[in-house]
Symmetry: C2
Subunit: 513 residues, 2 copies
């Protein structure tokens, strides 16, 4: 049916409101709906059994002696002549069973601490792209200036609950000291929870210490209060590399959360079928999760799923596809089978903030939300298959995430909300605009989006047909200009500065490049 459109619309409201657009308060949404069961339970069991079979008969290459020794002590079959570890199914099940169902990831600002597990959702900023675009400038190599601006924008956006890593690689910081300066930026420009890269033992230890300093807690308190997390990607198929394993060894030993995420691209590093890719995802995830529990029973760990497909004619990876959505949903079924928090992503393969970026992201977010994800990585700012961070995409995503947050709040069905009296008062043929029921509620009745322009055609036309893609750029600048640096105790700041200065003087972490 055709709907009449009011005059003026969106434009007038934005002018009224001033440059800063409204945001919802910082709050983790909860999924009150049941997550989707995309396949029947026996299908989930079939994937589970197949993955245990893979772990038992093929095993994983675990490129770290200490990890192999630990797993051998748990009863795994460790090949003395190679890195191969074959996992006894009962051992895997037993170990995985020790992982907690949920836990809190502490931010240095307690108001920004995150619950991971149950029906809680957390949205992490984009992480790790080598390139960046936006704020009026074309695609460029990642650098510390854009890195800091993306950290500021992530801090300012309430829909972004935590950092997922470096929102773009600050490639102008030398790899030997990058983790020191970048983590210093994350901890001082923001007070949200942080991530550390599993790039070898020393970097992990440095960043754990920085998180401890920033939160002004003792080593013991840090152990009882997870304060930073790491993502461990397997090297699919069926391999866990040395730096990643060192991340598990150090983080799990100190009770810090590990998100084990195989990147199982169906048709490339994983079988060409969705179920086959999920078998491999599940095998690799379980192996990593088992290792965390071999290191320390009860260490917090998240089941990560990142199964998508390639374009079989070009080999290009695709995201936000139907297969991606299916894998995200079934990944959640698997994680819940093990009673583990679940990680998914907001992914797309587009080269611009355009229709494709939008619908691929919406499919990814649909998969994450309906899949019961607890942690959505790259929730804001991911473009170009993860090769680029985008300020504009971060704004678009924040808008989508805020809409999802509002949508997930079940509408009230109390007496006043049911409005029986209001309907009776207005009666057939009337209008609700001026009624007491409406006047009492209209200010907060509906979600106020950042981007949507609901003006009618004539108003929109007269305004020069504004493109929402361009408005994301204006908004990114406005939001950044409203950023406020979060306070930090001066003694804490000095300790943090001193630590970074000392470790930088020492040369950080030796690299051969």
């Amino acid at each position: 049916m055709a709907a009449r459109r009011g005059r003026g619309g969106r434009r007038a409201r934005i002018a009224d409101r001033g440059p800063a657009n409204p945001q919802l308060p910082f709050r983790q949404p909860r999924l009150h709906w049941l997550p989707v069961r995309a396949i029947p339970d026996d299908g989930v069991e079939a994937i589970h059994e197949a993955s245990l079979k893979v772990l038992r008969d093929v095993g994983m290459d675990m490129l770290h002696l200490e990890a192999r020794t630990l797993l051998g002590r748990e009863g795994a079959d460790v090949d003395p002549d190679s890195a191969r570890v074959r996992f006894d199914p009962e051992m895997v099940t037993e170990l995985v069973g020790h992982a907690p169902r949920s836990f809190t990831l502490h931010a240095r600002n307690p108001a920004h601490s995150i619950r991971l597990g149950g029906n809680h959702l957390a949205f992490a900023a984009v992480a790790s792209p080598p390139h960046v675009s936006g704020l009026g400038r074309d695609r460029r190599t990642g650098n510390r200036d854009d890195f800091r601006q993306l950290v500021r924008l992530s801090q300012h956006l309430n829909a972004v609950h935590l950092h997922g890593g470096y929102p773009v690689e600050p490639t102008d910081l030398h790899p030997s000291v990058r983790h020191l300066h970048a983590t210093h930026d994350l901890l001082t420009l923001s007070d949200k929870a942080i991530h550390t890269y599993s790039l070898g033992r020393q970097r992990t230890l440095d960043t754990i210490e920085m998180a401890r300093i920033a939160r002004a807690v003792t080593d013991e308190e840090l152990e009882s209060q997870p304060s930073l997390f790491t993502v461990v990607n397997t090297s699919s198929p069926l391999r866990l590399d040395t730096p990643m394993i060192e991340g598990i060894l150090e983080m799990s030993a100190r009770n810090q959360p590990v998100v084990v995420t195989p990147f199982t691209l169906a048709g490339a590093m994983a079988p060409v079928t969705v179920a086959g890719a999920l078998v491999q995802q599940n095998a690799e995830a379980l192996a990593g999760i088992a290792l965390t529990q071999a290191v320390r029973r009860g260490a917090p760990v998240v089941y990560g799923g990142f199964t998508s497909n390639v374009d079989m004619q070009s080999g290009a990876p695709a995201f936000g596809t139907p297969e991606y959505l299916q894998a995200a949903l079934v990944g959640g079924q698997l994680a819940r089978r093990y009673g583990l928090p679940y990680r998914s992503s907001n992914a797309n393969a587009s080269n611009a903030v355009d229709l494709q970026a939008t619908y691929e992201s919406m499919f990814s977010l649909w998969g994450a939300v309906m899949g019961g994800a607890n942690l959505v990585m790259h929730a804001a700012g991911w473009l170009e298959g993860g090769l680029r961070a985008s300020f504009e995409k971060m704004v678009l995503d924040a808008d989508l995430l805020q809409m999802i947050c509002t949508a997930l709040e079940p509408p009230a069905t109390d007496g006043g909300s049911l409005a029986v009296e209001a309907i009776a008062d207005v009666g057939p043929g009337g209008h609700f605009f001026g009624t007491a029921h409406t006047r009492a509620r209209y200010r907060d009745a509906f979600h106020d989006p950042l981007l949507s322009d609901w003006s009618n055609f004539e108003t929109w036309d007269e305004a020069g047909r504004p493109d929402p893609a361009r408005r994301t750029e204006t908004l990114a600048k406005e939001l950044l200009s409203a950023y406020e640096k979060p306070p930090m105790d001066i003694a804490v700041r000095e300790e943090l500065d001193d630590f970074v200065a000392r470790r930088a003087r020492e040369g950080g972490v030796a690299t051969d490049y």
Copy 2:
């Protein structure tokens, strides 16, 4: 994580493939997942009870004596001095209980007949906008030429399962004969199922007769084989107008499906709360549905939901909002409570095929699919809050609908799909590209989208950074050029031509404009 991108990508494939893009075969998807329960069952009951209270205490204005008489005979309280009818709750429940849970809507091509109900989904083309844009031309008033082109595009797109009405108003056809010529176009340019507007008794009778002729069936066969449907919109709040009631009287009497859809815009023609708007939607829908069953027990009828919200500062209607999504989901819960097929929509309020149109549509589609909708009206081509049909939006929507169709097919979890042997053969550190398992499956392994460009940045950049919004225009032209007029028996065609010629000679339906 960053993903490496293959060379060439999408562009090369499209060139290989020729101008016609691949489509999935015509097939209704089925929702194998449980629809979302966005509110608990007691909330659904509260809305149900409140709406029955509204129908009992306030009632509806039913602007047709015959309808009032029929409902009076069923036990409704009919005010002799006005159009007001107050409904006994038990009477409503009893009448609604006679409606079938599902039925088939017959197209003149049996391969295009549609199942409505159960877990079947059907996607209808955009209906009723007064304006149109696309194919390289700016926004213009609806006309028969664009009308026909949109009918052809709807016929050619396999993701469009039926017509929802006139894809744009052919305003250059006089209203007295418009239904004759427009329905003639629908029945001859397409062989998919059709809709008739409830615009008074005679138009309904004319189009029923035309559907009968086109299907070459007798009156009796038509009655046992629903062959066209109508949407009945209430005039919210709480009124059912004369022409709409005449649609119910004629269609239900002949066992033709009626989709009763209140357009309950929260804050305008309905209460400002989602629950309140749903109470009113439910009251109006139940009243209309009860009337269909008063006319004829067992007549096919669909529960329609179209609750959205206005922008409270401008009065402009909004679609694809969080409130819209919630209402779509709860609407499905209500329809299932009554055991009725459910109708939702693919709506957005954007003025262009842009980011906003895309994400608002995705929220609407998410609401429809997860809400368990059986009939998605305006599934392809709706723009500008329903004021405009867009060729380009129809292509974008068809792409989204095809992706949804693929995603809704549960992935296989049989032995071959689980790929345990393939994983063992490849082993740690290997690659699946050339394996037998991959080679046997890669051609049909993954969904092939119409729009998505998965080429890497360099390739995309060299190609002039193509915009998917522009590609929709190219695709619309390509798809239209591949349209083939469906065959029609010559005798049937002559009978149809003769009928239209005769009724046009007779002046069609008298109008005072």
